[in-house]
Amino acid sequence: MAQTGTESSPSVSSRAAAELPTGEEYADLRDRLERACRKIAPHWMSDRVDDLVQVALMKVLRSGKVEDQVEMNNTFLYRIAHSVVVDEIRSHRRRNETGMDPKLPDPVEPSVRTNPEAMTGGAEIGVEIVDCLGQLAQSRRRAVTLYLQGHSVPETGKMLGFSDKKAENLVYRGLADLRACLKKKGLEP
């Protein structure tokens, strides 16, 4: 797995600066990046979209692909936007942990919107789910994790290289283990 950080310096290299698009090209690029950032960023980051777009623009300019219209497709721009949003989430978490982000007193909401009833105690249960996942057998943990992330059983099997039958078995048994673990912690509907 790659273990690399991503750049976030606002400066633009002289080489990239020489390739800066002008006029309509720049406006079009900015609009497309803004759409991508708005689509990817979770609700709680909506007031930071302008900053995200600015960082994304810098990344695009630094990529050296500005003049290559073939590379400047939606997939590339969404990749950049996703990377910028994730970097910002990680930075936000670090700032919160060190008390360096006083302007964000509200709790961070996950991207998956839950109803108020589900939110009650949901976060605490989530922490226990993470703990219980760590206690599952490896193959079951992987299958259940992807399943909890929203994938279907066939998708989970395909992604992990298992047959549908094996994936079904792993998810079924893994969920049973997870529920048993939660029950031991007193978490049962």
């Binding site: 996703h82 994790t145 992990l160």
Partner: protein
């Protein structure tokens, strides 16, 4: 506990769990999470990413955000068919 409730609660862990610094320092590049979601990793690579997501709510959230991105046009290994 219903599947819907489990999925919502797992996503909510992002809000309350303070990931250990050790885990955050080992977080994969956002591109790796994008590739994982879109089935562009091998099964072994995906397994490694999945192991990380199981204990890191921040990366689990980053993976979920990749749902809102278009799939790459090529280089696909395997992965979800819904988009």
């Amino acid at each position: 506990m219903s599947l819907k409730r489990l999925r919502e609660a797992f996503a909510s862990a992002f809000d309350s769990l303070d990931p250990e610094d050790e885990v955050l320092e080992q977080c994969p590049d956002p591109d790796v999470l994008y590739n994982a979601y879109h089935g562009m990793l091998t099964a072994a690579e995906l397994a490694e990413v999945t192991d990380h997501m199981a204990r890191c709510p921040v990366c689990a959230e980053a993976y979920r955000l990749a749902r809102n991105t278009p799939p790459p046009a090529s280089e696909r290994v395997s992965g979800p068919d819904r988009h």
